[in-house]
């Protein structure tokens, strides 16, 4: 009897909550129309409707006939890609580039943020931040141009080393060039989010650590790292979720015929097949394969992190 009355009370509580929400919505519907409707429509138009294009991956797509007029081939493109002799090379190149990129590139902005946080003068800090953020605004193509000039046989690097290597033709140098230039360009900008998170670290806590006798590393461990840990984890999960999404522009711009062994990755292959050869169905299938792997990695990493971090994740 008691149980019944309790569940009835819970039920009526839920109903009244829904009723209150509806009343609130009716009273403030203008707010929803002005602020939420545009965002909702934009998301639908630009994020969900284009997903219909995934169907191209299952057709022998002909732009004149359209998606529904083209011949349905099922998983044929996927079978072709996975059984192609170059599939493993592209996959390994992509994974190596992104995994090494993550290993080297992910800690760089965090370290930079720790260093910036140690600068006491606000003005000096601002100036240094400005210098660090600037490379982010250089276009990828210009950046690749700079890299090519610096690494040319007669470029500055060779002049400093007293050598005349053509680094751009060396497959073994491609990944280092790609990752190092990425860190140079993006670490400063990526450090913003960590610098902001570090500003939440309590000043008193830091002073308490100083009095406790903590050195700089111990202060970072005890005060600063806990302040940014959650941000770092979320950024890490997001980065792992993008592990297969290596941007094609930079790899393509740094590519030469001689470094193809290391520089041909899935995205450059999709570009070449799709846009240069006009094999839209095949390139969409490869792109979709890429995305599915990303989603699997994102979900797996998120659940792993949640297990290790007291249930905190995305």
């Amino acid at each position: 009897m008691k149980k019944t009355s309790e569940s009835a009370a819970a039920g009526s509580g839920g109903n009244s909550k829904l009723h209150n929400t509806l009343v609130y919505f009716r009273q403030h519907w203008q707010l929803y129309v002005i602020f939420m409707l545009p965002a909702f429509l934009l998301t639908i138009i630009f994020r969900y409707i284009p997903m219909g294009g995934i169907a191209i991956a299952f057709t022998e797509y002909n732009p004149i006939r359209g998606i529904f007029g083209s011949e349905w081939v099922g998983f044929e493109h996927f079978r072709r890609f996975l059984s192609s002799p170059d599939f493993m090379r592209y996959l390994v190149n992509t994974l190596k580039l992104s995994v090494f990129g993550l290993l080297w590139g992910f800690p760089a902005p965090i370290l930079l943020a720790f260093l910036l946080n140690r600068i006491l003068s606000a003005k000096t800090k601002q100036k240094i931040q400005l210098v660090l953020y600037m490379p982010n605004f250089i276009s990828v193509i210009v950046l690749c141009g700079i890299v090519r000039i610096l690494l040319a046989p007669t470029g500055m690097v060779n002049m400093l080393l007293g050598t005349s290597f053509n680094f751009m033709t060396m497959p073994s140098a491609f990944r280092t060039i790609y990752i190092a230039s990425g860190i140079w360009q993006g670490a400063g900008w990526a450090s913003i989010i960590y610098t902001a998170a570090l500003s939440n670290a309590s000043k008193e806590l830091k002073e308490a650590a100083v009095i406790d006798g903590a050195n700089i590393i111990q202060q970072i461990q005890a005060v600063e790292w806990p302040a940014i840990k959650d941000t770092v984890l979320i950024q890490f999960i997001m980065s792992v979720g993008n592990i297969m999404s290596v941007g094609f522009e930079k790899a393509y711009a740094l590519q030469t015929d001689l470094n193809l062994n290391a520089s041909e990755i899935i995205s450059t292959y999709v570009y070449k097949k799709g846009l240069l050869d006009g094999d839209y169905g095949f390139s969409t299938a490869v792109g979709l394969f890429n995305t599915v792997i990303n989603v699997i990695l994102l979900v797996t990493m998120n659940s792993l992190v949640k297990k290790m971090n007291d249930g905190k994740g995305i």
Binding site: E207, I211, A222
Partner: protein, 393 residues
């Protein structure tokens, strides 16, 4: 346990750039009438100056004063968190001006507890000992002993977020006492607690002090805390020491008008009065009422060769009595406090507070009632109109 000497300590916050200096100057030019409590010089903003104090071994010293008076800055200089701009800091006979905070053998309790949020209470308390490579058994013994003293043993495995404000402050104190520091520094440790908890924790600190037997420097803006905790109180204003003395001394013999107004609750009543010297006797005359000062006060005034002059007369509300004759006043507000009534009366345009014990009350007081008040000659404080100093000093 150690003595602490602060010899002519000074703190100047230098300007970061010429721009700041200009800005401050411009601001001050525009607001000449606004009182600023920090002195602005060409070198920078002076937060503390001419601060000299000898703290005896195991003494409990309280620095008290309004916000911005430099009390926390002074404490932070002792802790090593602020650089000392001038003067000498000596702890246990050693000059500590340039010694790192960790090597000063001090511990500090902060206003906002400053507990590491990701560590348990046990880990928080053990942290400083771990950094000093103390043996595990020794750490465990010290942490559990401190937890027992502070009655937080049951919370050792909890994280700070699972504790109440009072419990967190106990942990913060525990973290400080596990190190058995030579000097314990406390920066407004009770400010974040509600009134009831503050009273409880105040009593806890008094008990704690007896148990751990070390030198304390305690900062507060609450004069009740200062009066109840301190062996001696240092009252500060605008970076300067106003008076140093035992709670009794500063209450009974305030050095100047500021101290007289700051110490005591409700605040001291001040009047424009006349000090009359008649041979070797002194009288204060207020609204035609003449009160003879007692022998001790007379002796001090004679020693200082004080002559007749207009003065600011100070009498505490608890020393002001309702009487049949005396200074006439009209009742404004009557506040029932339980054991006493705080009577706010208007005496010639001045708000005067009189504390009337409930037991002595013959009738209730209503708005507009005419009353008379008087005071004895042993509780009247006379301050110079020109310097605001107590003429007895």
């Amino acid at each position: 346990m150690a003595s602490v000497q602060l010899n002519n300590i000074m703190k100047v916050y230098p300007y970061i750039s010429g721009e700041d200096k200009k800005k401050n100057k411009k601001k001050n030019d525009n607001e000449p009438e606004k009182k600023i409590n920090l002195q602005i010089t060409d070198e920078g903003v002076v937060a503390v100056q001419q601060f000299s104090l000898d703290i005896k071994d195991k003494e409990f010293i309280v620095l008290v004063g309004p916000s911005g008076c430099g009390k926390s800055t002074t404490l932070r200089m002792v802790a090593g968190l602020e650089e000392i701009s001038g003067g000498e800091l000596i702890i246990d006979g050693k000059v500590m001006n340039d010694v790192a905070p960790k090597d000063r053998d001090i511990a500090m309790v902060f206003q906002n507890y400053a507990l590491y949020p990701h560590m348990t209470v046990y880990e928080n308390m053990a942290f400083s000992l771990k950094l000093r490579h103390t043996a595990k058994e020794e750490i465990d013994k010290k942490v559990r002993e401190a937890a027992r003293i502070l009655d937080i043993t049951q919370y050792l495995e909890r994280k700070p977020k699972a504790l109440s404000g009072g419990q967190r402050q106990r942990v913060a104190i525990g973290r400080a006492i596990v190190r058995a520091p030579k000097v314990m520094l406390m920066d407004e440790p009770l400010s974040n607690l509600d009134a009831k908890l503050r009273n409880e924790m105040r009593a806890e600190i008094i008990k704690l002090r007896k148990r751990i037997d070390t030198t304390f420097m305690y900062v507060t803006h609450d004069q009740t805390e200062a009066m109840t905790l301190g062996d001696r109180i240092v009252i500060m204003r605008d970076g300067y020491i106003q008076q140093i003395g035992t709670p009794q001394e500063v209450f009974n013999h305030p050095a100047n008008l500021f101290v007289a107004g700051f110490i005591g609750m409700p605040v001291m009543n001040f009047f424009d009065a006349e000090l009359k010297r008649e041979g070797n006797e002194f009288f204060v005359v207020l609204s035609g009422v003449k009160v003879k000062l007692d022998e001790k006060k007379t002796a001090r005034l004679l020693k200082n060769d004080v002559q007749s002059q207009p003065v600011t007369l100070g009498v505490r509300p608890e020393h002001t009595n309702i009487s049949a004759t005396g200074v006439p006043a009209k009742v404004d507000v009557s506040e029932m406090m339980g054991s006493s009534v705080h009577l706010h009366v208007d005496a010639d345009g001045r708000d005067v507070i009189i504390i009337v014990p409930t037991l002595d009350m013959e009738s209730s007081y209503n708005y507009g009632d005419l009353v008379h008040f008087t005071f004895s000659g042993n509780v009247a404080h006379v301050f110079s109109k020109e310097t605001d100093k107590n003429l007895e000093f």
